[in-house]
Amino acid sequence: MSHVTEGELHAYIDGVLGALDEAANERIVAHIEACDDCRGRLEAATEVRDRASTLLDASLSTPVEVPPFEDVLARAGLETDGTASADARPPRTRRLAWAASIAVALGAGWMANASLRDAGSSLAMGERADSDPPAPRAVAESNARERLELGDAPESTRIETAPTSPLGREESTQRLAARDEPRLEAERETGDALPRRAGESSAGFRSSVEPPPRNRPASGVVAAPPTAEPGASAALQKAAEDPNAVGLAPEELEELPWRRVEVIEAAEWVGGILTLPDVDVEEYALADHEGRRLARVRQRLPGGETFELVQLGGPPGLDASADEVLDDLREAPRRMLDRDALVRAGAVATRDRSGAYSMGWIDVGGVQVRASAAVAPDSLRALISRVRRP
């Protein structure tokens, strides 16, 4: 007489043996009734099964409320009738759309700003805070070194602001005025590796940021000529020698006769408009200054600050495809924030709603556009996290 196997015993205990094999079930039942050994093993197997059940119940039993099935549909991007939701869009689609937005925006910007040497454009940031005092006054107030960590960046990157020079803005500028350096020479001295055109960039997003020497201009900023007229605006002096610079101090930018326009007109005005993707645009505006076309974009950053780009129109040119622009964008080095340099460049501090002052500078090398973003660290972090390939 063959005894019952362990598997058969457990299947019998679980009450499934009959469903699996009716004939086997009848045989086992009859055998157990006749076999003391198998009856003993049945008791032992039952105890094992029950103990295992108790342990699993103790660990797995958890009160669960069943969420409505509509939650599943919503998660799947479906309406309750099973049709696709209008708001549903796969994340990858959103990323691709954002990438397209970057390509279009930057490609257009590239077209408008052909090359560094061609002096297409530069960007200057204006500060914007609803109840802030004029920014230049605020610049000289803080001496604190700010260290910004970009948690969202693909690599750990720090952007630092150097302590504010004890010199006031005008004094710093006049120091510059004494240095008769052409822009390219200044760049070589600072060691800034600014690519000149798409494809030439060799720097990736570095895990550390190269600090420019103290009190020397950030890349792209030219020293004012020594022949600057006394009392003349330092920024205007700079503009006389640096065709890349907008050449206007923030307060001067504010005073231009800006005319609010639609995006298409702004893009046409300067040959392409640069914006941060996925950030609400508050306003496009145009101005004409001494025969030069300026376009201004204001966007609201997550931190509450307004990110403002002033773009200078330049000769059109198509030196790079959108892909090359994106490649350069990805490889654009992060720059050390030099408060003095930012002051000289016309970038200013902004104060966010919490009252904190901060400055930022983003150099998107190779795209021929330099943006100084005078925003709070969190906003700058959010901003830079967008400046990359999705």
Binding site: E6, G7, A11, L20, V48, S53, P67, F69, V72
Partner: protein, 170 residues
């Protein structure tokens, strides 16, 4: 025949969560994975929806386990909650004991092979031998034997851990 996923959802959701709790040892994560399983189900018309759901859930949990850290802390948190909430004295020890039991069972399960764990959890979640066979790709006739061994090994592992605790006090 078209699958009425709404109906299957009502019938299967709790069992699926129970199964997934044993996989990821995190109730919230288990519910999230269960939801995700049903989201994926909406695009399919399997012959055996229940078996299909558990198969997908098992795969999702396996992917989760590859990257997630087991959240043992939540069991500790339950202990702390019991202490912090100042529950009635007679209740507090019971809750602590439950939390300790859960932790021990989790550890014991980790000592089992993946197959043993799988069949135990599937059976504990109310699946038939036939469904367990379909999900695990084992022969239906082998499920009884596999379960018998898995149960015995679970008990052995659990008792071994209890002995360790008794010997070393932790």
């Amino acid at each position: 025949m078209s699958v009425n996923w709404s109906e299957v959802y009502a019938q299967t959701y709790k069992d699926l969560v129970r199964f997934l709790v044993g996989k990821v040892w995190d109730r919230e994560r288990a519910q999230d994975l269960a939801q995700e399983t049903f989201v994926r189900a909406l695009r399919h018309e399997p012959d055996n929806p229940r078996a299909w759901l558990f198969s997908v859930a098992a795969n999702l949990a396996r992917d989760e386990a590859r990257t997630a850290v087991r959240r043992r802390g939540h069991l500790t948190l339950l202990e702390n909650e019991a202490e912090a909430e100042g529950t009635v004295e007679s209740e507090a020890p019971a809750r602590l004991e439950d939390a300790e039991t859960r932790r021990q069972v989790e550890r014991a399960m980790e000592r089992l092979s993946e197959r043993d764990r799988e069949v135990l959890l599937l059976w504990s979640a109310g699946n038939s031998y036939g469904d367990i066979a379909e999900i695990t790709k084992l022969a239906p006739g082998a499920i009884g034997t596999t379960l018998a061994r898995a149960r015995a090994r679970l008990l052995a592992a659990y008792e071994g851990l209890e002995n360790d605790v008794a010997r070393h006090g932790g």
